[in-house]
Amino acid sequence: MMILASSMVSSSNSRVYDQTLINDRNGYLNHTFQIIEHKAQFPYGLDLNSSNLGQGIEYKDLIKLSELRAISKTNKCLGSQQINVLPHKSLRKPINIIVESDEVGYISRVIDLPLYAIGNDAYESIQNLRIEIETLYYELMEDDQFSEEWLNYKKYLQDIIID
């Protein structure tokens, strides 16, 4: 195990942010790593393109920083990820998403909801998807004039979002 900035792990300002699975171009799981976010440095999550990559982050299973940078700068699919927090709300359990490269950027989709967001890079698409999830939640909370399918999505979000 390679640990970077291990002091961050026990700090009160740090928290586990994402359990991320990286797939290679063929869809095979290559690495599993865990990101420990330092709030002051990464208020909205990990910036894969940041020159600060590595500060306040713990990687497990021997993924190297250079590999992560290389993956983020190529068109490789980042595969399945989990959103653990929304812009203004917390979650009881993570929301599973898929992040893929597209012709002109990246697209992130929620597995359990008909929601997607795009971005110039994987990070931006995930950030936009967080906003989309929260926007949908607010819309669903306005009334109950929805189809049964959307009422089920509403219940799902009510169950996992902490108001």
Binding site: D102, I107, L136, E139
Partner: protein
């Protein structure tokens, strides 16, 4: 898939005019298609007049419960609101 024929502005105008979807302006445009007095499907359209990549095009089609070909037809005109309602009622 005819994603290269249309940009995001085209899709929004089509949804507004043909499906009477009213969009809210947030980070992106989000709008609901009403079937009777209930909100039945919701579509997200990126802002601006952006090129629509294939996966984005497919995601928008799926949000409307349409296949790629049906979404092509919606944007190209043959698929009108009545046909669209028949498709989503069948699902």
């Amino acid at each position: 898939m005819k994603n290269s024929k249309f940009n995001t502005h085209d899709v929004r105008i089509c949804c507004e005019n043909k499906l009477n979807i009213e969009f809210r302006e947030g980070k992106e445009y989000n709008g609901w298609f009403w079937l009777g007095d209930i909100k039945f499907v919701r579509i997200t359209i990126p802002k601006g007049r952006k090129y629509i990549s294939p996966k984005t095009y497919r995601s928008m089609a799926r949000q409307l419960k349409l296949s790629d070909e049906q979404f092509d037809s919606l944007l190209e005109c043959p698929l009108d609101k009545d046909k669209f309602e028949r498709i989503i009622r069948a699902k």
